[in-house]
Amino acid sequence: MIIKKVKYLFIFIFVLTFITKSHSLEPNIFVQSTVNRASQILSDNISRESKIEELKKVALDTVDIRGIGFYTLGKFRKNLSDEQKQKYSELFKEYFLKSFSSRLAEYSNPKIDVQSQEKLSDTYTIVSSILVATSERPEVKIQWRVYTKDPDKPLIRDLIIEGLSLARTQKEEFNSIIQSNDGDIQALFSSLKKFINN
């Protein structure tokens, strides 16, 4: 009787594991589908403004904007009050969406092929892809740092283009703005507002 119960328990666990696994989204498939969504928007015959709006929706779905925002603050995030954190999150989100979508909107139908993935830990997988060469520029290697803490909803945390991390570049830029204003976070807030309203 006990053996039978244990057997059923094993079957239950096995089925449960399988069901959980089948619902999780593989990072490479997630990246390819994100890229396909963006490519579709860029090749659509719609205005630049409409493209930007659509690209913003893709970013909201697939990028960990809040996480990137706090990462880019570096050591300064520890000194923020809850109110400042809230304010910063809102500003960063607007800044990111504007910067990201206007950068991407410059491209017309870029072709990105996902090639492989490497699991760094339970929370991170690096997906490697290639931006296919055109007559104007050579092939570009792009790696995607995918945050997989919730396997059902992976999120992009960084783009590493030819070995150069965009999140890190952003972090060093923000830190430079704060440091050149004697550590005053308000200086960064002002710069973000200026960029958003420009």
Binding site: I65, L120, R137, Q143, R145, K149, G163, R168, I177
Partner: protein, 261 residues
């Protein structure tokens, strides 16, 4: 001779400066080294000067260069890339990478002869590795464990570090065979201007390949100087590691306490 001694003295000074800057630990082993911008005010001023120069001269010339027929651009790019082997090969050897030194020597020989002074990359078609990576003395110093030292912005030449500047001076005091046969007039076949044309060509070729990227970065940066500094330093660290590994470009602990959307 006086020029040579002066270069040597500056080089030694810079070398000792950059060694003094290390703390016994290879800077590459630190996952997220802090940016050391010891001369930030001067650097920012030089950066602004270079930007003015870029807007007035380099960018328009690069745009004009882009309009040349593709075969001419590819030929020029191949020629300059082939020439850069003269610095890459000694550095491959200094870094102990004999295999790549051998491949690059074969590439240089084949392309300079059959490939007509390097205009055609025949070696690639013959099966030699196509993914050629330039090496310089700054990279070699880095691979030996010398820290990058302070970040510098040089007039006209742009971003550098104390270590990379030391590397460039090494080229000028005899480490660059192309410099030796042109500027130092070791032979009667080349002129000093040949060297400067090739260096200028290198700059224009690089600028032409990156017109959109630079414009995009400038447009989307709140502090363009800091963005360029970050990208330059990341690029040098990556080149010194000679690896496509991306794990070290970002320290996971930086993200630890951050929760997602």
């Amino acid at each position: 001779m006086r020029k040579l001694i002066a270069s040597l003295l500056i080089s030694l000074f810079c070398a000792s400066f950059s060694f003094a800057d290390t703390d016994g630990e290879n800077s590459l082993s630190k996952k997220n080294p802090e940016v050391k911008d010891c001369f930030e005010k001067v650097n920012r001023a030089t950066f602004a000067f270079n930007q003015g120069l870029d807007n007035a001269i380099f960018e328009p010339v690069a745009k004009g260069y882009r309009k040349l027929p593709s075969p001419i651009r590819i030929g020029t790019s191949n020629f300059l890339s082939n020439l850069s082997n003269l610095i890459t090969i000694p550095n491959n050897i200094l870094q102990g990478d004999m295999k790549t030194a051998g491949i690059n020597t074969a590439r240089l020989t084949v392309n300079s002869t059959i490939g007509i002074l390097g205009i055609f990359d025949v070696a690639a078609q013959m099966g030699f590795v196509k993914d050629y990576q330039k090496e310089d003395y700054g990279q070699t110093l880095g691979s030996w464990g010398v820290g990058e030292g302070c970040y510098l912005v040089l007039p006209i030449f742009g971003p550098s570090t104390v270590r990379d500047l030391t590397g460039s001076l090494t080229s000028a005091i005899g480490g660059d065979p192309w410099y030796n046969v042109t500027v130092r007039n070791d032979t009667q076949y080349f002129e000093e201007s040949d060297y400067y044309y090739s260096r200028g060509g290198d700059g224009i070729n690089f600028r032409a390949k990156n017109i959109e990227s630079f414009d995009n970065l400038e447009k989307n940066s709140m502090d363009f100087y800091a963005s360029v500094r970050s990208l330059y330093l990341q690029d040098r660290r990556k080149k010194i590691m000679n690896s496509n590994e991306i794990i070290d470009t970002q320290d996971d602990s930086d993200w630890e306490e951050i929760t997602s959307n």
